[in-house]
Amino acid sequence: MTLQIIATYAIAISLLIGTIFSLVAGIGLLKLNTAMSRLHAPTKAGTVGIGAFLIASMVHSWTFADGSFHELLIMGFLFVTAPVSANFMAKVNIHRGVCAPPPAPTNDDTWSTLNVPDADIEIAETET
């Protein structure tokens, strides 16, 4: 019985931590003023916020039910996919020029997003 009480507290604390970090991520999304800065907010909710929710879910399922491993998979898939979407949003920002232009790379000529073939530049010019 005491185990269940301890588990209940652990679940409550994990949920609270997850809620706080999700809230901060939401506040950041509203508060920050540039497109690139706003990108930083969801990476926080994606790691610690959701991680805390999943820990709460795992503790609950192991103490009050049969137990579940699915949370580990969710965590793994999230850690693999979150950086990819953040990277694509950053690339769109650079491509549309809504952020400060990045400095030139030290080892190569240009960044791959800015490396537009001549043919595509001609197409863009004729369309506008």
């Binding site: 690139m36 950053a90 030139a104």
Partner: protein, 166 residues
């Protein structure tokens, strides 16, 4: 014998990974499910072998686990720091900055993991790779000194990844 082993298990790490993921998906550890997972783990790498450009040579599993623990810890610490910055600092005081990281890593897998690590640790987002893959563009949320961020990432993550992959 070695040839049969290489034909049957062209990618042993992928076999283990597929078996573990299959067992986790079933949500119960039973002999039948583990055996089926191993069967899947053998068949899928053989069927997809022809689409791999090349395979990673040798992974140092111990160092990989140390790296994972280090990254988890950094994520926790940095989360609190960035939450504090977001809640207390005014937008006008914030100094978002680009950081250019010259890469010593060459293998695409290692660069992918480095870019993922940089994005997952709050405060930095990896934005772009240079056209020939020798530099990484990183956006930092609030930093006065881009060179310090660059040196920290190079020393903390890239050096360890180099030991793991090369």
């Amino acid at each position: 014998m070695g040839k049969l082993y290489r034909w049957l298990l062209p990618h042993p790490a992928l076999t283990v990974l597929l078996a573990v993921v299959w067992t986790l998906l079933q949500n119960e550890v039973s002999a039948g499910m583990v055996v089926f997972g191993v069967i899947l783990g053998i068949i899928i790498p053989i069927m997809t072998a022809r689409w791999w450009p090349d395979r990673p040579q040798s992974l140092r599993v111990g160092k990989m686990l140390t790296y994972c623990v280090l990254v988890m810890w950094d994520i926790l610490v940095a989360n609190v720091q960035v939450a504090w910055i977001v809640l207390t600092k005014r937008n006008a005081d914030m100094r978002p900055n680009w950081v250019v990281i010259p890469l010593d890593l060459r293998s695409p897998e290692a660069i992918t993991i480095l870019a993922g690590t940089i994005t997952l640790t709050p405060g930095t987002v990896s934005a772009d790779l240079s056209d020939e893959g020798h530099s990484l563009l990183v956006h930092a949320l609030d930093t006065d000194d881009p060179d310090a961020v660059r040196d920290e990432i190079k020393d903390r993550y890239e050096r360890r990844l180099k030991e793991i992959f090369e």
